[in-house]
């Protein structure tokens, strides 16, 4: 164990002595960097313990070779000290390494700049990893270039995750396009059929429902991978067209996540409530407003949506109840073992919709 954690290079001899007393050349005895205790000990222990792979190269030796590499560097690359020391870092590159970041690295070395580049590197066993390489000059106390410092971080997993995320976004966009297209075709079929049969009004009513569903489904695509969806996004989308036409609407709930299966129920129920509010309720007058609130249920609990109208005309419950909309709401909720409680208060219509969540 002790052997492995000892960062002292075994060769060549001149770099060994240099690193036995790094304070001589690294300038750690400079006032600003003064540590209590031996700087040499600190350096050795810190380098041995850090999980960040670190190497130093000496630009005063031919071909700027590695003069020090810590344990993390050896573990990352698979090389032993005696295989590393004295070689230029380029031996980590291979056939698939992009020349662009390599050129950027060379330029930084030539200009004594600090640079961070990502490049494909090769381990001793030939396997590859994506290296986020951070390099920069180290000066001695006289301001003279002493070393180049390089830290290597294996970002292979990060890059895979980034690529997957990008791919997922592209897929979501394409899926969204196809879904909207599908809903547009369904709407088209309903409209065209309605006209041919002379039932345009019914066709329009069906289409309103289909489109409310389409808006609700659209919001679920971003969450497609997670199984649950944020119902607030769907509620916003379902009611958005009503809000846009200037009908005062306040949406209070947020953050509630529910299983995907309740989206269509919520979509259809809220659409009917909004349609009724437009025909008979708060949105039938210029002064009315609607507030929608919903809770954040635990899994397997019940999603409760409260619909509250204020400032509308006096409502005739019989006229509302007679519409097909209410029958559809009742039927859908019954199928889902849910309930709706309707109250025709003097100050406005209220509905409390409960939908049990099947985990």
């Amino acid at each position: 164990m002790r052997d492995d954690s000892d960062p002292r290079p075994t060769r060549p001899a001149q770099t060994y002595t240099a690193f036995d007393e790094p304070s001589d050349r690294l300038g750690v005895e400079h006032a600003a960097d003064a540590f209590p205790g031996s700087p040499g000990m600190l350096f050795k222990q810190a380098m041995a313990q850090t999980r960040m792979s670190i190497c130093l190269t000496d630009p005063h030796l031919p071909d700027n070779p590695i003069v020090f590499a810590n344990r993390a560097f050896r573990e990352l690359t698979g090389y032993r000290d005696d295989e590393l020391i004295g070689r230029n870092c380029r031996f980590l590159q291979g056939p698939k390494t992009d020349p662009a970041p390599v050129a950027a690295m060379r330029e930084a070395l030539a200009n004594e700049d600090v640079v961070i580049v990502e490049m494909l590197n090769y381990r001793k066993d030939g396997s590859t990893f994506w290296n986020a390489l951070h390099l920069g000059p180290i000066y001695d106390e006289t301001g003279k270039l002493a070393y180049f410092f390089g830290s290597q971080w294996d970002v292979t997993d990060l890059r895979v995750a980034r690529a997957e995320e990008q791919h997922a976004r592209m897929m979501a966009r394409e899926l969204s396009h196809r879904m909207k297209n599908m809903f547009a075709v369904i709407s088209g079929i309903v409209n065209v059929t309605g006209r041919m049969r002379g039932v345009e009004r019914e066709a329009a009513e069906i289409n309103d429902r289909i489109q409310a569903l389409g808006r609700a489904y659209e919001t679920t695509l971003d969450d497609a991978a997670s199984g649950t969806i944020e119902i607030g996004n769907a509620i916003h989308a379902i009611l958005d067209p009503y809000g846009r036409k200037g009908a005062p609407l306040e949406l209070r709930g947020n953050g509630a996540r529910v299983p995907f299966s309740v989206v269509s129920i919520v979509g259809l129920v809220l659409h009917e409530l909004a349609a009724n509010a437009t025909k008979y309720g708060a949105w039938a007058s210029d002064t009315g407003s609607v507030t929608v609130d919903w809770n954040s249920p635990e899994p397997d609990e019940t999603l409760v949506i409260e619909w509250r109208e204020r400032g509308g005309p006096a409502i005739d419950p019989d006229a509302v109840a007679a519409g097909t909309g209410s029958a559809i709401v009742d039927r859908i909720l019954r199928t889902a073992s849910g309930t709706i409680e309707r109250k025709w208060n003097p100050e406005g219509f209220e509905a409390i919709v409960s939908i049990p969540l099947r985990g």
Binding site: H177, A184, V185, S187, G188
Partner: protein
């Protein structure tokens, strides 16, 4: 007053059919629906419409170049798309109208009225 003519480009045939009926019912004459840019372009060169309703992605490509030519001649364009968000289209064509698919017929007619200044 002469009945305004509306050019319709839409590569999904049923959606195009519905659009044509919707616009005709509202009292407009329709050129189309054209399923690709080349046929829409040909029609536009033969007879300049008063307004165009264009799906953004047609079978032979993106409709933006055609939209640019129409707008250069002060022909209002309504984009009707499932592919692009309205704000994306708006960035490129600040003066245009965008409708998200699927769009209720009443909204389409309202947009046509607005664009023609009725």
């Amino acid at each position: 007053m002469k009945q305004p003519t509306i050019l319709v480009a839409e590569d999904e045939s049923i959606v195009g059919w519905d659009l044509r009926d919707t616009v005709e019912e509202a009292g407009y004459a329709v050129e189309g629906p054209f399923v690709d840019i080349s046929s829409a372009m040909l029609s536009y060169q033969k007879h300049k419409p008063d307004l165009a309703i264009l799906d953004v992605q047609l079978s032979d490509g993106n409709v933006f170049p055609l939209a640019e030519r129409l707008m250069a001649e002060n022909i209002p364009v309504i984009f009707h798309s499932g592919h692009y968000q309205p704000d994306e289209v708006h960035k490129r064509f600040p003066g245009s109208t965008s409708l998200c698919k699927p769009c209720p017929p009443a909204d389409i007619i309202q947009s046509v009225h607005d664009a023609l200044g009725n």
